[in-house]
């Protein structure tokens, strides 16, 4: 019996692996097609410079999108990510410049601030059963107001003290921030599949009532997921501040929609229960390759937005057709 079982399970495993690879293959293929098309259409596109620019411009969006993926899988939504990022960035700048805090201290406070905002989102929506859409919409306003309040509505120049984080490493062409964001993606994917938190996220997203009726508490998971999303916004805030050398209380407007777009392009369902962090990363890559490719082809900004919109709808359409088939 045991030999048979082993063979069975290993067969299952390999089939499971094939399925997993197939999932990523679709997204990777789309990305390759996109890069090929742009390389043919524009002579300047296929160059190290283009890819370096793309790689160094996406870490903040990537990190926010990872948090958003978890929130969407658990069946929620977080509209406040952009504002929370602005708030964390503002607090970071104030502490660093006006209060002369050390870099690490200001950094930790900024991440904590993001985590607390997320935690409040999670607690209020889980404990009082208020839709996350409403709670995070409120937090969107609160955090934005907070950002204006602490900076007096002024853009703060931070200076060169943290520029190293987004400056390309010599001989490697990519920045530490990009490497860190890739690490966050891999850790996120691992967490989703190999930790209890990840599995509970899927369980709640699939059927919250079954979780409740199985005698499992949902509040700790929900609180953790929203806190995680907020804290990732805090980290993204540091990266963005580093990249722009300034803390702008207006920054991050529309970031929530960009992050959600990346998730849904990557196949995450807005109804919860399914999604993949790596595919979200592909979603971020596809959007940024699209934007930079269109720019190099000389497309105007309005045109870029129209095409991006079409791609989002097209991606979800393909996804729904595929799931209907199976």
């Amino acid at each position: 019996m045991s030999a048979n079982t082993v063979r069975e399970t290993s067969a299952n495993n390999s089939r499971a692996w094939q399925q997993v690879l197939l999932q990523y293959a679709g997204m990777a293929l789309a990305l390759i097609v996109l890069v090929t098309v742009f390389s043919i259409k524009s002579k300047t596109f296929f160059s190290a410079a283009t890819f370096t620019t793309i790689a160094n411009s996406i870490p903040d969006l990537t990190i926010v999108a990872v948090g958003m993926t978890f929130v969407l899988i658990v069946g929620g939504i977080d509209l406040s990510v952009g504002s929370v990022l602005a708030l964390a960035s503002s607090i970071f700048a104030i502490l660093l410049i006006d209060w002369h805090w050390p870099l690490w201290g200001a950094g930790i406070i900024a991440v904590l601030c993001g985590g607390i905002c997320g935690g409040i989102n999670g607690f209020v929506s889980a404990q009082y059963r208020i839709p996350a859409f409403i709670v995070t919409l409120g937090m969107l306003e609160i955090a934005r107001g907070g950002a204006y309040l602490v900076t007096n509505s002024e853009t703060k120049y931070v200076g060169s003290s943290i520029e190293w984080a987004t400056e390309p490493i010599t001989n490697l062409a990519v920045s530490p921030a990009f490497l860190f964001s890739v690490l966050v993606v891999l850790a996120g994917q691992w967490m989703l599949h190999q930790t209890v938190l990840g599995r509970m996220t899927v369980a709640i997203g699939t059927n919250a009532e079954t979780v409740r009726m199985s005698g499992i508490r949902t509040l700790p998971t929900l609180l953790s997921i929203y806190t995680l999303c907020g804290a990732l916004c805090g980290i993204a805030a540091l990266i963005q501040t580093s990249r722009l050398s300034t803390a702008d209380p207006n920054s991050g407007a529309g970031l929530e929609l960009a992050a959600i777009a990346a998730c849904v392009i990557g196949g995450t369902s807005l109804r919860g229960g399914s999604g993949s962090v790596i595919n979200t990363f592909f979603g971020v890559l596809i959007v940024s390759v699209l934007q930079s490719g269109l720019a190099q082809m000389g497309a105007s900004d309005p045109m870029k937005r129209i095409v991006t919109g079409l791609v989002i709808i097209f991606a979800v359409l393909i996804d729904s057709l595929r799931s209907k088939q199976s």
Binding site: A16, R199, A203, T206, N207, T210, S214, G215, R217, T218
Partner: protein, 537 residues
């Protein structure tokens, strides 16, 4: 009127296998079969909900291949499914005429709508339902009746009813039968699925029996006895030698066996429930369960049985009530405490205290349907605490646990990575059982543990119950199937209209008395117009 030619549908396995049938106008054609025989799939194909893999249909001489429910309805084929298709937030009237709402320039003509609805409900004999009520305020039986009324009111040549009486009270069933006769007289062809053989015997003109997706045969009603029906459903036409009567009696334990294996330990109660209320459905209910005892709870649908279990499990909040689980250790019993603990506030609290509940509706709150069997079983070990969330999830461990249960409960699947959605009702129920056996507890609450599952799975559920008993657990079983309760319970408590009426000590129960008690709570209120002897036959 409607003919099917070699209709076939393949899912993972062949669900319906070249079924050729014909339905005549003005006939009630009953479709029988054990679970998984393909009745529902066949109906769905006729109603346009599922497209056949091969085969064809003709309706009134013309070729008929509906691409959707709407197209089928335009051809006059209506289906009433087990799952209800009403919009809970709309009124009864709006639901009744949802596809043909009367309007002028898009503005709803409310008065006309209400008049039509009132007329329809009156014609249908549903005097107690106000067309202005929201559907969410109705009971399950009333909703079912509204849905059937809505379907019958439309232009309809073929009416498919998939277990319409499962949620109905006896008076509602009676009403339904009258309307089916009326429809039949008007020439409507009715396709009727039911597990209640006596009902089928009573109303059907012809009976077709399916087994494993194949048609066993079609018989005029009066040529088939109930025992023959059961035999055909179980064995097809090749009745095995030896079972001369052809009735595969579910292995009923003999009287001696039952007493041996079913003797509860009599050292005080394990679970004490004291004056639990959630008005108006549950009114001040108290009872006790001993370790190793199966307490059956009998009652009519809507009598508050499910609500009572949900209160004990903390799924709903009670108005009042107390509860205690006594330790089975004798030392703890030696110091009797005054006053009981409050009821659990959430299912998580209940499980922590050792109460688990196998709920009535496995699809909505028992399983994670799109997930694998292994995941479904593994998740039950979790409590969702912060500390736990940081731990790694061992999928290999989950798989081996699931494998153990797959064997011991005979869950039919290729492997434990199989998605629960695709399992049959019986196998899904086994997964739910495995989930709770994996979690373990002291008191097991079963709500309709065998609803919609086949005989083999049923036996396994009973076996699990007997095992739990022997391990000293306390079991509370709610079931609509009185035969089932009589067979498995040590003691039967009757709940009627939200009140605990009486306990009956087994093993020799008096059916008449139990049934009488089930109706007792409704006396003087005129709610149950049903005559008792109809239940008793």
């Amino acid at each position: 009127m409607l003919t099917t030619h070699e209709l076939t549908k393949d899912y993972a396995t062949r669900a319906v296998d070249s079924v050729s049938l014909e339905f005549q106008p003005g006939e009630i054609h009953a479709l029988l079969g054990a679970n998984g025989a393909g009745k529902s799939t066949l109906c769905k194909m006729i109603a346009g909900l599922v497209r056949p893999t091969s085969g064809s249909m003709t309706l009134a001489g013309r070729s008929y291949s509906p691409r959707g429910k709407e197209e089928a309805e335009r051809s006059g084929v209506q289906i009433v499914q087990q799952e209800l298709n009403l919009v809970p937030s709309l009124s009864v009237a709006e639901n009744l005429f949802l596809s043909i709402l009367p309007h002028r320039w898009g503005v709803l003509r409310t008065r006309r709508l209400l008049e039509n609805a009132r007329q329809l409900l009156r014609d249908f004999g549903l005097h107690s339902i106000d067309p202005c009520d929201h559907v969410s305020e109705l009971g399950v039986g009333e909703r079912q009746m509204v849905e059937i009324a809505a379907n019958l009111s439309r232009e309809c040549r073929i009416l498919i009813l998939d277990e319409p009486t499962a949620a109905l009270s006896l008076s509602e069933t009676e009403l339904l039968m009258q309307h089916l006769y009326d429809a039949k007289r008007k020439g409507v062809s009715i396709l009727y699925i039911s597990h209640r053989l006596d009902e089928v015997e009573q109303i059907a003109d012809r009976i077709s029996i399916l087994r494993d997706g194949k048609l066993v045969g079609t018989w005029p009603q009066n040529t088939l006895s109930q025992s023959e029906m059961v035999s055909f459903m179980t064995y097809g036409k090749d009745r095995p030698e030896g079972s001369s009567t052809g009735v595969p009696t579910p292995q009923q334990p003999t009287e001696v066996e039952r007493r041996d294996s079913h003797s509860p330990k009599k050292d005080g109660p394990l679970l004490i429930v004291h004056r639990v209320s959630r008005r108006p459905r549950v009114q001040s209910v108290s009872f006790e369960v001993a370790a190793g005892e199966i307490l059956g709870i009998a009652g009519l649908v809507g009598s508050g049985r499910t609500e009572l279990l949900r209160l004990i499990f903390g799924a709903d909040r009670a108005d009042q009530g107390e509860m205690e689980i006594r330790s089975t250790e004798p030392s703890a019993n030696s110091t009797p405490r005054h006053g009981l603990a409050p009821l659990p506030r959430t299912p998580a609290h209940a499980v922590e205290r050792g109460i688990v509940m196998i709920s009535e509706d496995r699809k909505s709150d028992g399983l994670w349907l799109p997930q694998s069997i292994a995941s479904n079983i593994a998740w039950s070990k979790f409590r969702g605490s912060f500390v736990e969330l940081l731990r790694p999830f061992w999928s290999r461990h989950a798989n081996s646990t699931a494998e153990t249960f797959r064997r011991s409960l005979a869950i039919r699947c290729d492997n434990t990575q199989h998605i629960c959605q695709a399992l049959s009702g019986g196998n899904q129920q086994k997964v739910v059982l495995a989930k709770w056996l994996n979690r373990d507890g002291k008191v097991f609450l079963f709500d309709e543990p065998t609803r919609g599952i086949d005989a083999a799975a049923r036996e396994i559920v009973y076996q699990v119950m007997r095992d739990l008993c022997q391990r000293g657990k306390g079991l509370v079983v709610v079931s609509s199937d009185l035969e089932e309760l009589l067979k498995i319970s040590h003691r039967i408590g009757v709940i009627s209209n939200g009140r605990w009426m009486k306990d009956f000590q087994g093993p020799d129960f008096c059916r008449e008395e139990i049934v009488a008690e089930m109706f007792e709570g409704y006396q003087n209120q005129g709610k149950a117009i049903v005559r008792k002897n109809e239940v008793l036959q």
